[in-house]
């Protein structure tokens, strides 16, 4: 009796697992398909002598070619410059934003000062205004400092970093979980707040630092609204998102779709690799952030 029972349970589990595998495999196909298509397109030549380079309704190119990649590196466009700009922006934003978020989070988590809750509530309310509302104002503000068009790269860094203090939630949540007894012990030993922050809290915060830096690093690769608004009319200040989306959206660049795909792949590779390496920290960060809200 018992044996039969466990036998049927086993069978049930087997069926259950098979169904699960089928679902997971189907999902993987759906999830990977756009990337597969993107990669295939990037290997279709735009040179009509090789293969018709406009839009087509098939996936696998008839002739694999590296023409698109060659084009990107040929210097015919400023693609490499856009890439460099984005990398510079991403690195600076990543470093500076992390510093600012750490400072703010530490102050809000560990110190009790007048107006603390008021400040947090005020920032919460500010966050409810849609970001693009202030585009025009930010543009003219930056222009006052000469940070538009030719100066758009530092301008973008400044804008991205300046208001980053408001994104303290996840990091503060992490600091809140660090035992406060450690701080108190150090203070009894005569350490200043600054020393505690730098020498005690920081070394314990590796996961959250990596998470914050990773998220900050990834954002600029996708920013085209702010970037195009600040850099308009100055090709050399574009980032990859602005430069590439013009190939798809403006009529001046017809037949650039395969080149867009190749450019997109080159953007995706480093970001994806970095993400995969640091995935563990990302998961920790988002999970922690989700629980703390």
């Amino acid at each position: 009796m018992k044996e039969k029972d466990s036998g049927s349970m086993k069978r049930n589990r087997l069926i259950g697992n098979t169904i699960t595998y089928i679902i997971l495999i189907l999902m993987s196909i759906i999830w990977l398909f756009p990337f597969f298509g993107l990669i295939m397109q990037s290997f279709r030549s735009y040179d009509s002598a090789v293969e018709y380079g406009g839009m087509v309704d098939y996936i696998i190119p008839k002739h694999f070619s590296l023409d698109n990649y060659r084009f990107l590196f040929s210097g015919e466009t400023n693609y490499l410059l856009w890439y460099k700009n984005t990398l510079i922006i991403a690195i600076f934003v990543s470093i500076l934003q992390t510093i600012i978020i750490l400072c703010v989070s530490y102050a809000l988590s560990r110190m009790r000062f007048r107006g603390r809750t008021l400040l947090m509530r005020f920032w919460l309310i500010l966050g409810m205004f849609p970001g693009f509302l202030t585009l025009i104002c930010l543009y003219f503000l930056l222009k006052q400092f000469g940070l538009t068009q030719a100066g758009a790269v530092p301008g973008l860094i400044l804008v991205s970093v300046a208001s980053s203090g408001m994104g303290y939630y996840v990091c503060k949540g992490y600091f809140d979980t660090l035992p406060i007894a450690l701080d108190e012990a150090a203070r009894i030993d005569g350490a200043t707040r600054a020393r505690i922050f730098l020498e005690l809290t920081m070394p314990l915060s590796k996961p959250i630092i990596i998470y914050t830096a990773l998220v900050a690093f990834m954002a600029p690769w996708c920013d085209f609204v702010m970037a195009s608004y600040i850099a308009f009319g100055h090709d050399k200040s574009y980032n990859v998102a602005v430069g590439l989306q013009r190939w798809v959206w403006t009529n001046d660049y017809q037949g650039y779709f395969t080149r867009f795909c190749a450019g997109g792949i080159l953007v995706a590779i480093p970001v994806t690799l970095l993400f995969m390496f640091l995935q563990r920290y990302y998961v920790e960060g988002v999970t922690g952030g989700a629980v703390k809200g």
Binding site: P34, D57, M111, M128, A194, G264
Partner: protein, 461 residues
């Protein structure tokens, strides 16, 4: 929440009253150094050897006076009209007149700075009072070294927050205040600086938003608002439950290659959206890959209008958003599911509960409880989810039933963006922006009070 605010407001008023009376007592009871400090900031501290503090106050005052004389006063004086001198032409050369934009921006800044300087003036008085009281009590004033050193210790919060707060003020607070003001002006394509002036118009733009006549925005606004809410609802909860479902599938005992499945899904987070979403848009276009193959295989005779039929476009967007959103939720759920004590499931299993019953009575309540605030931020985030909509449809298709560039998949934010960038209709963009704020704030308030973790703090701990 509400009562708290009221208390805060009441507390604020009584504190203000106290501060004002203190300004009086300090003047009445203070010595000449203190009294002179009412005019010359930091004079008292300087005279008492508090060089650092004194110089700080004095420098602030001088900087403020210089700012006002050379810059602020001029802008401030024009803020009521936003400029009167029109752009003119001398021969063929253009002579620009007043720049309404800069007048409004810097006028606003000046008003805020005046507020700040009053606050500093008050702090300066308080400092004098404190010093006098300390001296009277026979105590010594802290040395300059110590005052500076405190910035790394007891006053470390000021050091940490100074730069971030300044950044937020200049690049968030000031622009938002500016745009709120713009909602009460006629700043649009016909009134654009520096060539043309704009000026205050009162509530005209708001009445346009709520007028339902032919030229009014009313019905369009409501359509867009409704879709924004519907979208945010589906985008949040569909992803939430499907993501959780996928996490449970992957976590299931006996399923192998867990890391592989996760990595495949997580690709959508890693690859920048402007690449993946633009590709997906082309894929589902009437003449795109999907329709191309379906036609080739003879499954359909005419292309499926994924993006051009309004209803279908909305559904497609939500489905594509699932593609983006599941992995994110899956990651979060994976971590949280492991935290649920295994014993709960064990005892349920002994009671003969089916997997679905276990999900319904253990997993779901737990997840909803821990992720309540997260769901709220997701919802408000989705209200403003620009990228997904704009990279896919740009808000299209438009319709004769909607006015002013609005499309049937436009969210309030994408509509706002179009008004700003395509139409340079800043005044209406500002009005819409304020509406977005109100919607977000109202939704947050309602949902926040409904959250189980707020209602029932003890819950699962």
């Amino acid at each position: 929440m509400k009562t708290e605010n009221k208390n805060a407001a009441a507390g604020g008023f009584s504190a203000l009253g106290k501060s004002i009376s203190q300004i009086g007592t300090t003047f009445a009871e203070g010595d000449w150094k203190t009294r002179l400090s009412y005019l010359i900031f930091g004079f008292g501290p300087l005279a008492r050897g508090q060089i650092v503090k004194g110089l700080g106050y004095l420098a602030t005052e001088i900087a403020f006076i210089l700012y006002m004389v050379f810059f602020g006063a001029d802008y401030l004086s024009k803020i009521t009209t936003l400029g009167t001198v029109e752009t003119a032409k001398k021969g063929r050369v253009t002579v620009y007149g007043d720049n309404s934009f800069l007048i409004l921006l810097f006028g606003l800044l000046t008003i805020i700075l005046i507020g700040v300087i009053i606050l500093i003036w008050y702090l300066n008085i308080q400092e004098n009072r404190n010093e006098e009281l300390l001296l009277k009590a026979g105590k010594k004033l802290p040395s300059n070294r110590k005052a500076l050193g405190s910035l790394l210790d007891t006053n470390f919060d000021k050091t940490l927050l100074a730069l971030p707060t300044l950044g937020i003020f200049v690049f968030t607070v000031l622009p938002i205040l500016f745009m709120i003001c713009v909602a009460f002006t006629n700043y649009d394509k016909n009134h654009q600086s520096p060539s043309n002036l704009f000026t205050w118009v009162g509530l005209e733009n708001f009445s346009k938003l709520f007028s339902f006549g032919k030229a009014g925005f009313g019905s369009t606004f409501l359509t867009v608002l409704l879709w924004t809410l519907v979208w945010a609802f589906f985008a949040t909860f569909l992803n939430y439950f499907l993501g959780m479902g996928v996490a449970i599938l992957i976590n299931k005992k006996g399923i192998r290659f867990k890391q592989l499945w996760r990595t495949i899904l997580v690709l959508t987070i890693a690859v920048p959206q402007f690449v993946s979403l633009l590709y997906i848009y082309k894929m589902f276009a009437n003449d795109g890959l999907v329709n191309g193959y379906l036609l080739k295989w003879g499954w359909i005779t005419s292309p499926i209008p994924f993006w051009t039929d309004p209803m279908l476009a909305r559904i497609t967007i939500i489905v594509v958003n699932v593609w983006i959103g599941i992995p994110y939720m899956m990651l979060i759920a994976t971590g949280l599911l492991m935290n649920i004590p295994e014993e709960l499931y064990e005892s349920a299993r002994i009671d003969g509960a089916s997997p679905f019953q276990m999900f319904w009575s253990i997993t779901l309540p737990y997840m909803l409880f821990v992720t309540g605030p997260f769901l709220l931020t997701q919802f408000t985030g989705n209200l403003n989810n620009f990228n997904v909509i704009y990279l896919l449809t740009k808000g299209q298709p438009q319709s004769m039933r909607l006015t002013d560039h609005a499309g049937q998949t436009d969210l309030l934010v994408t509509w706002l963006y179009k008004m700003t960038v395509t139409d340079t209709n800043y005044k209406m963009a500002a009005v819409i922006g304020i509406m977005v704020f109100l919607v977000t704030a109202v939704v947050s308030l309602i949902v926040y009070n409904m959250l189980p973790s707020v209602k029932d703090e003890g819950g699962f701990q």
